[in-house]
Amino acid sequence: MAQIAPFAERYELMRVNAVDKVFPGNVQALRAMSLTVREGDFISLLGPSGCGKSTALRLIAGLSEPTSGRIEWSKPRAQGDLGVVFQEPTLMPWATVAQNVYLPFRLEGKTYASVKDEILEALKLVGLDKFQNAYPRELSGGMKMRVSIARAMVTQPKLILMDEPFAALDEITRFKLNNDLLDMQARIGCTVIFVTHSVFESVFLSDRIVVMAARPGRVIEELHVDEPYPRGEMFRTSPEYAAHCRAASQALEQAMEAAA
């Protein structure tokens, strides 16, 4: 398991280079977006709906192509290097929890027996090892999301993309999952790009917040949250946290004004 390097010593993982995305009908979803992602970063894309943050995530995931500009990876990307968590848990309802987490390996052609330990490990990480034989319908919304996270982490990917994964959950569950997510990230040592429209969530989780504006979607400002990890409930009630939230809120307000 890799350790997360101090901020100044991180290697570049990938880079979004002056990317434009125009959808049919001349809708500019993204204009001149540039972003350098380094190994171990926890980056939040924060902005109102329609600011292109999900579009940016899809471009990085390779699910769509930029109209102009480039997505550049420092090293060629292998199959298990990328994990994704969507807003919905997106589990296969016909498969058990363990089978769902097995999916990335299965698509690589590995047998279940050969990766059984990794699957169990990932389920332990999200606290669901006792539910490996349950079907998704038997789980609560928060538990389904945990399965989804376990699936994204099971290959020990370099980069995990998360598209408002906790937006549909209640606040108590959301706080708990925020805490656990930081724990898991620290243990796996992966990089995370996290799309959210919650100021609080972005400040709590990330070391960099990319604030975006809508129409056209673009980056307005990049904020740094230079607070040490691990962060816990203490951080959530600290004055520093409040100050960062205020700064992020102001940046978001500017973004809203810029769009209007």
């Binding site: 995931a61 390779g62 199959q79 997106t90 296969m92 698509l107």
Partner: protein, 286 residues
């Protein structure tokens, strides 16, 4: 359940409420099979009274007792015929499943094939089989093959169209996930599209089961006498020529029973395959 611990004074009412609900559930469970039986008994009784009171001759409308007599008395003949019709029906259903699902997968994998063939699948479906059947028996030597073709024509389309719908009803996020993990098209078909299509396919299968029986009966009626034409439909026709109306009813009852049996068997199969995960097969707790 946990509410009762919090709210002690209200607990007895909740219990009474629950008891009432349990009682109505029990009553409904019994009514589910008892009521249809009562309706059947009543209808048979009215039928019997109509025949007796109006002194209707048995070659116009036989009494229920006479039909029962024919059912038991002619059982050997009728059973042989039922086996034949049943065999044609099941074979046709099997071909309809393989052909319907196979075509659906082929259409799904290759757009050009779909564009070329789909209109003809629709034409084949909307043309009444009674109109096509006589032509088939002109060109097809074997009665069995001809009957299978008739039954297949009516039965394959529901399988084809519902499976096609199912293959295209994949959760788009799961589809994206498969793309991100670099799934091949066969992996996507096998691990994602086919399981997603299963509930739709089973829905189509239930319709196809009934239709293949209809197809087999129609084919027998058109194929007429000679060769292997001793199925149930042929028995109905033959009994009609002889004014043996009681046997017509008896044969008809067996055809209906076969249809019910096929539907029940396919419903059970569907339930077994989906009960673990699909909404349609899950019992809600309240």
């Amino acid at each position: 359940m946990s509410v009762t611990d919090l709210d002690q004074p209200a607990a007895p009412t909740v219990d009474a409420e629950e008891a009432r609900r349990a009682r109505s559930r029990r009553i409904e469970k019994t009514a589910r099979w008892l009521l249809p039986l009562l309706v059947m008994a009543l209808m048979i009784w009215i039928w019997d009274r109509i025949v007796v009171w109006n002194e209707i001759p048995h070659f116009i409308l036989p009494s229920p007792a006479r039909v029962w007599g024919s059912l038991t008395g002619d059982w050997a003949i009728l059973w042989d015929s039922a086996l034949l019709t049943g065999r044609i029906t099941l074979m046709a259903l099997a071909i309809a499943v393989v052909g319907g699902a196979g075509l659906a997968i082929l259409f799904n994998q290759n757009k050009m094939v779909e564009l070329s063939l789909y209109p003809y699948a629709v034409i084949l479906q909307v043309t009444p089989v009674v109109a096509i059947a006589p032509l088939i028996f002109i060109y097809v030597e074997s009665k069995t093959v001809g009957m299978l073709m008739c039954a297949w024509i009516v039965a394959f389309f529901p399988v084809l169209s519902s499976t096609t719908l199912g293959l295209n009803s994949v959760d788009h996020n799961l589809r994206d996930l498969f793309r991100i993990y670099g799934a091949t098209r066969w992996q996507r078909l096998w691990m994602l599209q086919l399981p997603s299509a299963l509930p739709y396919f089973l829905g189509g299968l239930k319709i196809a089961g009934g239709l293949s029986l209809i197809g087999a009966v129609v084919a027998e009626l058109v194929a007429g006498t000679g060769g292997v034409g001793t199925g149930l439909a042929f028995r109905i026709q033959e009994a009609g020529y002889r004014l043996n109306i009681a046997r017509m009813f008896a044969a008809l009852a067996i055809v209906a029973a076969m249809g019910v049996f096929i539907f029940a068997a396919l419903s059970l199969l569907s339930h077994m395959l989906l009960r673990k995960w699909h909404e349609s097969a899950i019992k809600r707790e309240t």
